[in-house]
Symmetry: C2
Subunit: 252 residues, 2 copies
DNA sequence: TTATTTATACCGACTAGTCTGTAAGTTTCT
DNA sequence: AGAAACTTACAGACTAGTCGGTATAAATAA
């Protein structure tokens, strides 16, 4: 028996372990790194799931696409359900971090909460405009339409991403509306949720039309709506074109 | 262990399934009517598909819910794929007819194309506000997220419903915009598609939140947007309430 | 230096059960 | 009698998951 660190379960794996794999002792010998295989499995699975749904994305199909074997799959995930959870967690973390960075950028670009919001939406519009090839999709939506297949923990992750998104956007909206009274009475929560609904709906449109352009177009409409609803002086009337990303900033 | 006709467990009499059973007794006993079974199969399948997706809605599960047997299933549908096509066609016909009737009503209520559009949306808002029990869903969206499982003919039906919807709404929008120049430059097609995107997105929200209220809320926002964009005189500014059809919802 | 141990990472055949679809027979109405 | 509307039983493919075994590399011992 080992003496130090009488670890029962986690003998501190030698050669992989994520934290900083950058540490190269002379030779980048790519030590047997399970994280590569793990990521290959997750990427293959995510792609398949968005094409066929979770049920039809069989373990056999996943390992074929990932170019590994069944043993490797079940070494990394003790069940297919665990893969589902890992996938949705990975997306949730990425999306949450991404929203944070977009909000940070928007806050650096303007001090006005309405402008921050509009910039934020503009940034999403910009990014989605670049999307191309494989008509994108949203794992959350895919899971939601097969929700009975997943355990509570998995669906809870989805619910949390959604409510976190709504809360962040809602808070900004709240600040903007405190400064610029809306021209129509609106519910802040559903107005924040509208961004989610449009994004999800646009994913569906883009899949039907095999054209990711719908995403940017719907973000643009959301931005229009917020501007018409809140901007202190409306953009110039019909025909005159507005320029991107900055709207009339009236001094209160 | 073969048992003859007097099975006790699941005789599940044929042509049973009294959905509403107008037919009661005496003479008019609908002669073995396959359409009842056929509908039972389709209803059971649709419900299951919205809960678990098409793949996981196995024939065994469908027949169990419908209360019939496997032979009956394959008597009515020569394959599971044919069931998928039949389902999506049924929904497409129903939705197209429903849109037609809503447009008819709206056109009877106003001669102004903008008002017709707003009424139309208001009617959808009204109807969805009543929804309750099983968090609704859209078969098209479900299929789209498993699209690789279906043949072209099936997905083509979905594409056609979508483009038909967009065309009908788009035409009304076109007429409204010819009369009332929009306050911001917008693309008519994507503006029409926005109604679809919002509806699909709201279905997803309602499933996540287990609350169908999202549907009506998003229709309302769509109506707001069109009004702000096109209405010749904006509804009174902030604070003053607008009439009819709504209770001004308190924030949050 | 070299040999041994140990843990990770992976392989692929195998199992028990589920899947869609078929075949052949039974019941019920005309 | 004949057709429509079923039923039960079964076939073969595919499913998630298991299990014994192997390759590699680091840690340790010689």
């Amino acid at each position: 028996m080992r003496r130090s660190s009488h670890s029962l379960v986690k003998p501190t794996s030698p050669y992989n372990n994520p934290p900083t794999t950058s540490q190269t002792h002379g030779k980048a010998c790519l030590p047997r790194d399970g994280t590569i295989t793990r990521k290959a499995i997750m990427d293959a699975a995510q792609g398949l799931i968005l094409e066929t749904g979770f049920s039809a994305a069989s373990v056999d199909a996943v390992i074929a696409r990932a170019g590994i074997t069944k043993g490797a799959f079940f070494y990394h995930f003790k069940s297919k359900a665990e893969l589902a959870l890992a996938l949705v967690q990975r997306d949730a973390e990425a999306d949450t971090a991404h929203l944070q960075s977009v909000l940070d950028r928007a806050e650096a670009l303007s001090r006005d909460p309405l402008q921050q919001l509009l910039i934020c939406i503009g940034l999403y519009e910009e990014e989605t405009a670049k999307l191309t090839a494989p008509y994108p999709g949203c794992l959350y939506a895919s899971f939601i339409y097969e929700s009975q297949l997943f355990d509570d923990a998995t669906m809870q992750v989805v619910r949390e991403v959604f409510s976190h998104w709504t809360a962040r956007i809602g808070a900004k909206l709240e600040a903007a509306m405190a400064m610029y009274p809306p021209r129509l009475p609106v519910n802040v929560t559903t107005l924040a949720e509208m961004s989610l609904a449009l994004a999800e709906g646009a994913f569906i449109l883009s899949k039907v039309q095999r054209d990711p352009a719908a995403l940017a177009a719907q973000w643009r409409h959301y931005r229009n709506y917020l501007e018409l609803l809140l901007a202190p002086q409306l953009p110039s009337v019909a025909g005159v074109k507005r320029d991107k990303l900055d709207a009339p900033v009236a001094a209160k």
